[in-house]
């Protein structure tokens, strides 16, 4: 009988190609997701070394980061973005890689399309040249964000050398209060552990509040693992996971489904398995969070006020807080509900899925966007957009005064034309509030879709729990 193991250790062990003293372990990669920004130099290096792509059948590409979200019929205006996208199209064609191109309804954010297609499955190893790859961990996959040299390595070998990370269990128990979402859970977690708290760890999220979440909520949680510095984040697969996957495009069928299911049921962390670090959070104590600073740990509850640098004991934290207040043009002591906003961005790999749009639409229905606010919805994929349109959500948003866009990363990072102007303040459902992230001089406040929707109507942050 082998020693009890955690979920991540089981997935890891099942993918070790080579284990040698003094070397990192070589892991086989079940799925490599590719997009236009972090891949061109990798393909070029392969081509220069005359190395083929080892497993095009385990590689899926889409365009998301630089793609415009309106006026696509006119083509891509930015010549650099156009070249980058054309380069991916050419690289995929030359290497026989499946690509969801701009005119494909399945095109979308790389971390939205994998689950949507059912190609993200429990027990897999998944990599992508993008730090939000941990999103796929919601299915009990070990999903790791990598750099371009590693993209090249995976293209050439379908493996990745990795030094075994430590394990951290974050247990969220209890019932989530009304109006408190998966986004608030993960913002609460990052606030607790800090932006560097997960460095060197793979996090397993567990507990009754996590088990109660839908797959989409679980994806929101795992998505932001990197904002706590973690190598990956995952959640044990369960009946919710299996029900989500069944019947999707790339999910196993027939006898293979039964075989897969049998395997997936063995993956959960064993009783008695030991984590290197444990964190406990009471779901009942969470509230809707709003970030006030320039990293995702700098958040407060909606009922609180902007903190003062003096509230922090660590000198670096104090210095960071002062710098953040200055960048964000906020005065310590200002109640969060008194912060007015100029823009609302509803989308991203964190909160751009159908359930996010439904939740926001429910808040918005029958109301009008505040006259001083410009609000936009960017669905996470072409299929999310179609689904929303089928349900009439687009009309709800349009009637309220939101813009309704095509799928992509959009203003989460502003590589396409969707950016904040200097000084603009945005309620955003994305994952990063770094300086300049959404546009140079732009000020980002991270919130849940419900909170973003309510802020769009009110013109300032407002407690969604009191929304009527």
């Amino acid at each position: 009988m082998s020693a009890p193991r955690t979920l991540y250790e089981k997935v890891w062990d099942d993918h070790v190609v080579r284990r040698a003293e003094g070397e990192p372990e070589l892991l086989f990669i079940d799925l490599h997701l590719v997009h236009e920004v972090t891949s061109p130099q990798a393909f070029e290096a392969l081509s220069l070394a005359d190395r083929p792509v080892r497993r095009p059948d385990l590689t899926l590409a889409t365009i998301d980061h630089g793609v415009p979200t309106e006026g696509r019929a006119l083509g891509i205006k930015d010549p650099l973005s156009k070249k980058q996208i054309d380069t991916l199209v050419a690289n995929c064609a030359a290497n026989d890689i499946t690509l969801f191109n701009i005119d494909d309804p399945r095109q979308g954010i790389v971390h939205v399309i994998g689950p949507e297609q059912g190609i993200t499955q429990p027990g897999m190893t998944i990599v992508c040249g993008d730090s939000h790859t941990a999103t796929h961990g919601a299915f009990g996959a070990l999903a790791i964000g990598i750099g371009t040299s590693e993209v090249e390595h995976v293209l050439a070998t379908q493996t990745l050398p990795q030094v075994r990370p430590k394990s951290m269990a974050i247990t969220v128990d209890g019932e989530l209060p009304r109006g408190v979402t998966a986004k608030d859970i993960i913002l609460g977690i990052i606030k607790r552990i800090g932006v560097g708290g997960g460095v060197g760890y793979v996090i397993e999220y567990r507990g009754s509040a996590i088990e109660a979440l839908s797959m989409e909520g679980r994806m929101t949680i795992c998505n932001m693992s990197i904002e706590g510095g973690a190598r990956a984040g995952l959640i044990a697969p369960d009946e919710t996971t299996f029900a989500y996957l069944k019947g999707r495009n790339y999910a196993p069928r027939g006898a293979e489904w039964d075989e897969a299911l049998e395997y997936w049921r063995t993956l959960a962390t064993d009783e008695g398995a030991v984590f290197d670090e444990e964190v406990f959070i009471d779901a009942a104590e969470l509230e809707p969070f709003v970030s006030w600073g320039t990293n995702p740990a700098q958040t407060v509850g909606i009922t609180e006020s902007v903190p003062s640098p003096d509230d922090f004991s660590d000198p670096l934290d104090r210095d960071n807080a002062a710098r953040a207040l200055d960048y964000m043009d906020l005065v310590a002591g200002t109640p969060v509900v008194d912060i007015p906003i100029d823009r609302v961005f509803l989308g991203s790999c964190t909160n751009g899925r159908i359930s996010d749009l439904r939740a926001a639409a429910e808040i918005v229905a029958g109301k009008t966007v505040h006259p001083d606010v410009n609000a936009m919805v960017v669905p996470g994929s072409g299929l999310v957009k179609l689904q929303a349109e089928e349900e009439g959500l687009n009309q709800v948003f349009l009637d309220a005064g939101f813009e309704w866009r095509e799928a992509g990363c959009s203003m989460c990072l502003g590589m396409n034309p969707d950016i904040l102007l200097p000084g603009e303040r945005c309620a955003s459902t994305s994952n990063r509030n770094f300086e300049g992230r959404q546009g140079r001089g732009g000020r980002t406040h991270l919130v849940s879709p419900q909170m973003a929707a309510a802020a769009a109507i009110a013109g300032h942050f407002i407690d969604v729990r009191s929304w009527s």
Partner: protein, 200 residues
């Protein structure tokens, strides 16, 4: 990649925590399909104002730090996005090593993969070096072979994964190393269950 051995050069102090890769290289510069030429955009929003004018106070714009080879900075350096453009920009500018109390995981690996040396020292040690770096005439030596950092009146040792060290010292291409084990990859592939998804 080129072999890394002992690096001796000027230090530049950047005593900030959690410097993220969006700061190291903002997104508008990620559209290039080439691997070189990112240096001029390093820390762009800190180095240039909204009109594109040089901000003279920024450490890497100060003429006395033009030859800096070692960046001395705060904890969790390189957090956020996985963009390898960040280490490419540092390397292209002329940085050869960074010293900090900690680095973000993906950034750290990206640096090792391109031969840019990330050195972890204690917060106290980084504090001393930051002080020393305030005087641009001070230099530092980062000796990878012996895992030592030496400056005037300062000496410290650092840890690094032995395999990463081996690769850096010898300038070894990771892909070539792994392809030596292609047979083992093939053997593994045969054992993969049929229910695993495939795009073919």
């Amino acid at each position: 990649m080129n072999p890394v051995s002992a690096i001796t050069g000027q230090m530049a102090p950047l005593p900030r925590a959690n410097v993220d890769t969006d700061q190291i290289i903002p997104k508008q510069f990620l559209k290039r399909v080439e691997r070189s030429g990112f240096g001029p955009f390093l820390f762009y929003d800190w180095a240039y104002d909204h009109e594109g004018e040089l901000i003279p106070d920024f450490v890497l714009n100060r003429p006395e730090y033009m030859d800096a080879a070692v960046l001395v900075t705060g904890p969790n350096f390189g957090s956020g996005s996985s963009r390898e453009h960040a280490p490419w920009a540092l390397e292209d500018w002329g940085i050869k090593a960074m010293i900090a109390p900690s680095f973000a995981d993906i950034f750290y690996n990206n640096c090792i993969n391109i031969g840019l040396l990330p050195v972890v020292l204690t917060e106290a040690e980084v504090g001393v070096l930051t002080q020393l770096a305030e005087d641009p005439t001070n230099t530092v030596t980062v000796d990878l072979e012996n895992q030592r950092v030496v400056a005037v009146g300062f000496e410290a040792s650092f840890e690094i994964d032995p395999f990463a060290k081996h690769r850096l010292l010898n300038g070894l291409d990771n892909v070539a190393l792994t392809l030596q084990h292609a047979d083992e990859i093939t053997t593994f592939e045969v054992t993969r269950p049929d229910f695993k998804p495939s795009l073919s």
